[in-house]
Amino acid sequence: MTIDRATIAAYVDGELDDIAARRVERAAGADPEIADAIARHRALTAALAAHYGPVAEEAVPNRLLDLVAGAGRVDTSLAARREAKRARFGAMQWGAIAASLALGLTIGLRPWLPAEPVAVEGGALVAAGPLSEALDTQLASNQPADAPVRIGLSFRDRAGRYCRSFESAAVDGIGCRADGRWRLERTTPGAAATDYRQAASGSLAAAAADMMAGDALDAGAERAARDGGWRR
């Protein structure tokens, strides 16, 4: 029995019907070369998934979300933006780095500093950088013990928005998902700023209980909400 490479590829890609797939499996059982080819194809797919998978887990930059929300500028060509970017970096080479620091420009221009967890947008306090990413992706059910941001409760508030309580070194609080970002509805100083951690997390839990409609999400509902992008 011979199985050509195209068939092996189609098998690994899930393109074969059951009968053809079983035929490949039988052939692989009898011929180590076929089994090896399948393993190599699978290893490649796994390597690509491991490499690109995390991109889809990153928080989507606000500039893209704003665009969809209608807040961004429209009708700017890709080429024009490239030009603008080149011009900006050109200017920075001329010594504007200090100036931009003094002006307190956004974190995007200061990649050598740790990203700030909080930003102000449209007059509202929102999660940014690592905090935004943790609220986007981290599950309370399987977060590492040393995670910089610890997620507490996830729940829906009375407006139907998803909200999540969190604790971190800089800030503790509750963020609610609205217009593609996490608006911080409650904030208290984090562990780095206070010794009264117990009290802080207790009052956050009370605030969460106040805000929530129904019960907090269980592990399954939390995962489903995350996979759905925290959309209502």
């Binding site: 393109e15 989507v60 893209l64 080429a79």
Partner: protein
Amino acid sequence: MRFEDELVGLLPRLRRFARGLARDASDADDLCQAAIERALKSRDQWSHGTRLDSWMYRITRNLWIDERRAAARRGVQKPIDEAVLQVAGDGAAHVEAGALRGDVDGAMAHLPDEQREVVMLVLVEGYAYREAAEILEVPIGTVTSRLARGRETLMHLLGEAA
């Protein structure tokens, strides 16, 4: 679901696809931004009930190809048609097998755009051959042959263990 909501839901995957095409992270987000702008402007052309994801991937991919052609005309990169002719192995066969072990970005950089986009759609985004063919508007046989060549090159460069 509202068009905008569905679009926002797609963005994480779209960014991943763009990253594979453009490689550089900020170029990839620029590409996403251009695709979103195009989609919002021409949303009338998207018919309800058809898949928004395929439509967005096609817009993204077409913008990327346009951008590459424009860059080639400016002399920044070699013309895309030349890249098409670059059969897998032509550039990569001279590189020792496994020379780029663990360096997925480096290995992907060896693929012509036409192979890279198929690799991304099928192996990363998980589209069926038929769906990838629809997104790229090419025959299904073109998808499988480009995929086979791209795979050969990647397996060669990344080594036995991929």
